[in-house]
Symmetry: C2
Subunit: 354 residues, 2 copies
Amino acid sequence: MIPDLSHLTIAVVGATGAVGAEFLKIVEQRHPQLHNLKLLASSRTAGTKLTVNGQEFTVEETTADSFQGVDIAFISASTEASRHWAPMAVAAGAVVIDDSSAFRMQEDVPLVVPEVNGADVTWHQGIIAIPNCSTTPLVMVAHPIHRVSPIRRIIADTYQSVSGAGGAAVQELKEQTTALLKGQPVTPRHQPKQIGFNVIPQIDSFLDNGYTREEQKMIDESRKIMHAPDIRVSATCVRVPVMVSHSAGVHLELERAMGINEIRALLMDMPGVTVLDDTGTGDYPMPWDVAGEDDVFVGRIRKDASDLNGIALWVVSDNLRKGAALNSIQIAEELVDRECLKPGSTPKPRFSFG
Amino acid sequence: MIPDLSHLTIAVVGATGAVGAEFLKIVEQRHPQLHNLKLLASSRTAGTKLTVNGQEFTVEETTADSFQGVDIAFISASTEASRHWAPMAVAAGAVVIDDSSAFRMQEDVPLVVPEVNGADVTWHQGIIAIPNCSTTPLVMVAHPIHRVSPIRRIIADTYQSVSGAGGAAVQELKEQTTALLKGQPVTPRHQPKQIGFNVIPQIDSFLDNGYTREEQKMIDESRKIMHAPDIRVSATCVRVPVMVSHSAGVHLELERAMGINEIRALLMDMPGVTVLDDTGTGDYPMPWDVAGEDDVFVGRIRKDASDLNGIALWVVSDNLRKGAALNSIQIAEELVDRECLKPGSTPKPRFSFG
C-alpha cells in the first residue's frame, strides 16, 4: 500500500521542467488526494498555469519565502539551483529531496533508491539526494544479486536518451532529425555535438582521470547506495538519439558463480524490477517501450563469456520516472512510512564511501 | 605504396548492395587503372548499369560460369550466396575474398585484417574471409596493445549503425523516423523491432548461451585474427538509429599495466588507426563524422577505473569501409604484394582456435 501524502505540503522546484512534469503526472497517478502543492520555477516560466488532481495551480517564482509551511521540497532544476535553494528550504523546516548532484556524495546526505537502501532515509539531516538517472537502474538490478553473491566489479556502457539533458534537448533531437532527413546541416545547441543520427560519447564535462562526470557519478553513487565502497566500477556514458529511457549493457563479476535461473529468480523477486527476457520469442526491453513505465526492465540475462563468475545483462529504465520523479516520490513515501520527516533522529551510519 | 591490381580480373558478387557500392567507390579511389571488373548480382538487380573508373558496366546475374577467367572474386551478398558461389569460384581458379560468416571459423580459411594478420593470407586454400564489421575495429585497436602487453579479457558493448543490415535498413530508419516525427506508428520490416528513436539489443539470431550470433562472432573472430585463443571476450551488440559507422565502448584487461601515454603511442603508430582524443577540446570520434573515412578512430582513452591493468577506449569505424569493402580490397592488395594468388603454397599454421 502506498503511504498517504495528502496531509503534507509539497513544493516542487522546477515544476515546468521535464522531470517536474513527470513528477506531477506521478502525483496524479499515486496520490490523487494530494492538493497542497506549491509549484515553483524560475522567473522564466513563473506564471504558467498547471492542473494537478483537478486543481489549477499557478507556477510561482522561487524565492527565499517559498518554503514557509512546506513539509517536503522536491528540487529538480540545476545543480546551482539546488545549491541555492536547498539550504533555505531546510532552514524553513522542509525536508529536501534533491535531484541534482550537488549533495549526493556529502557524508551527511543519504543517497536513496527506496527498494535498495530505503532505511538510509532515517539518518537524513534535512537533505536526501536521489541518484543520477543512469545510476538508479544499475543498482536496482545489481543490489539483489549483490546481497546473495557480492559483486566485485561492474562494467556498464550506457545508451542514454536526450531527455536526460532536459526538455529542450528532446526538441533539439526532433529538429536536428527533421533537418538531416532533408539533407540540411545542423548546429548543436543543447548537446555538445550533433545528436541526430549520431551518438555522443560524452555526457557532462571531463575529469582529470579521463572519465566524464556522468561516468564518475555512476562509479561513486552506486557504491554509496549499495554500501559497498569496494566494488570496482567502470562506465562509458553515451548519448543516443532516443527521446526517453536510458539503457545499459551491464557486466557483473561476482564473488561466487551463480546460475542464470538463480539470477533470474532474484531479479523477478525484486520490487520495481521487471524481467523481460525470452530469446525464443525475441523479448527484451527497449527504450521506446519502457518510456512511461515505472519499473526498471532487465533482459539479455546470460553468463558473461569473459568471466566464470560473470553475468551480462541489458537494463532499461525511464530516466524521467524511476530515474528521477518516481524515485523522489517514493522517498517521500518512505519518509512518511518510517515517520522520519523530522531530521536528526537517527545517528549517521558508520560506513564510509571511498 | 598500394600494390597494383590492374592486371587482375576481379568479380564483385553483390555489386548493387551497400557494401558492393562502397567497394566500387574504393576501387575508383585506390585503383583508378582497374578496368577488368565483372559486376555480379542476383536476378533482381541484374541489368543495372554502373560506371566505375569512367567505364560503364552492366551488372550480370551470377551463374556457375561467372567466374571463368576471374582472378579474385569478392562476395558480399548473403551467407547463403557465399556458401553457394564461393566453391564454384574457387573451382574456376579464383581466390575468393568473402564478406559473410560462412567460412570465417573454418580451420583452412584465413580470417584477415591486413594490418593485424596480413601474413595469414599466405596459407589460404582458395577462400579468405573478412571479419564481421564489429570485429575489425576491435582488433585494429586491441592488437597493437596485445603485442606489447597481452590482453587477458575484452568487454565490448557496441552501438551499430543500420547500414550493417544493408541498404534497405537505412531506408527503413529514414522512413520510420519521418513517420514517428509526425506521430505515426511504424511497423518493422528489416530490423527485428522499431529502430527509429529506439535501440535494439539484438543483432542476428540468438544462440543457446544467450548471446546473439553477432556477439559470438566478435568473441570467436577476434581470437582467431589475433592468434589468441585464450583471450576471454564478452560483447553486447546493439543496433542504434545511426546510418553508417559502428561504435563500441571497449574495456581491455592487460597482463601488465600500461600508462595512457604508452597506449596512445602504440595506437598512433598503428597503420589504419587514428587517435582522436582530447578531453580538453572535447575531441572524440563519433559515427556521423567517421562515415566515409578509411581509418578506425579511437578516443576516450583512459585507465579503466575497475581494474588496475585495465584500459577503457571508445572505437568508431565506417562499417561499410574498413568494416567490409576496404578490408577486402586490402586483402587483394596483400595477396598481390605477397605473390600468393595461387593457393596451397604455404602450409597451414599450427595454432588452433578453441
